[in-house]
Symmetry: C2
Subunit: 148 residues, 2 copies
Amino acid sequence: MAITSEQVLTVGEVARRSGVPVSTIHFYERKGLVAGWRTSGNQRRYHRRILRRIAIIRIAQRAGIPLATVKKHLDKRATEPITAAQWRELSEAWSAELNERIDSLVQLRDQLEGCIGCGCLSLAECPLRNPEDELARQGSGAHLLVSE
Amino acid sequence: MAITSEQVLTVGEVARRSGVPVSTIHFYERKGLVAGWRTSGNQRRYHRRILRRIAIIRIAQRAGIPLATVKKHLDKRATEPITAAQWRELSEAWSAELNERIDSLVQLRDQLEGCIGCGCLSLAECPLRNPEDELARQGSGAHLLVSE
DNA sequence: CTACAACCTCAACCATAGTTAAGGTCAAGA
DNA sequence: TCTTGACCTTAACTATGGTTGAGGTTGTAG
């Protein structure tokens, strides 16, 4: 195996250096998330830039962004390497998505804690029942959780 | 169809009143998350208590708790209906799980925003690269995202 | 008493994110 | 040159959380 001071990496080197298994790199390649070229013997070779790309993919995943969405974002910024400005765009977008996700979890937690406080499970005041609940339209007061 | 003032609900009534599709109720039943009995003609019948149980399941799901975990929690508190005290236990546990989830997302967001600020993608200072990164052990300073 | 909506089971299928196995090829060191 | 680890492909399998369809049954209203 080549010593890793090279610009060109084998799939195994990418795996070791990025921390993702070879199978996942194959998978990402099938999904179009990463790309490289082949040797005459059909083996994968990558520019070491791929490590940055994989790092970005993993960060996005930690933020809960699906791979398909990550791909769209990365495809829109097709230059390689991704510039600092593009990274700023990306990270701002993902930060915003993260914030939405956080907000909705915080809201749920606060509602949950409100319910702990009241201990009643009464969904007359309790907002935990999901918002698109159809019960109101049925005109029945008997649908409160507390009476169910 | 019986008018819904009954204590006993058909699967369709449960679906309408809980807001989840019939197929999902079947699925939950297969998974042991909900239970009822059968008519002589093999049709499902449920006590309206099931609506409370389904509401709790959906709340847990919103909090990101897998069905298998929800089942364990509910099985431990096997009384039916679930009491206010048990609900408090449950919601406290889930609230704690939620808080952990929120904390890790907030941490990620802050790191992401730090990176937006510095705009450098330098992973020397940037904590975004995942913590179990193997690079340090390879003793190479060339592995920073910025130089990859 | 018949029609029709609602119900039943079972199996297959969907998406997401990969992992694993089988069977075969490549490449680098001794 | 040979051995061996790293590589290749394809297909099937994992888990989660369901949905869909086919083909058959039940139950209630008229």
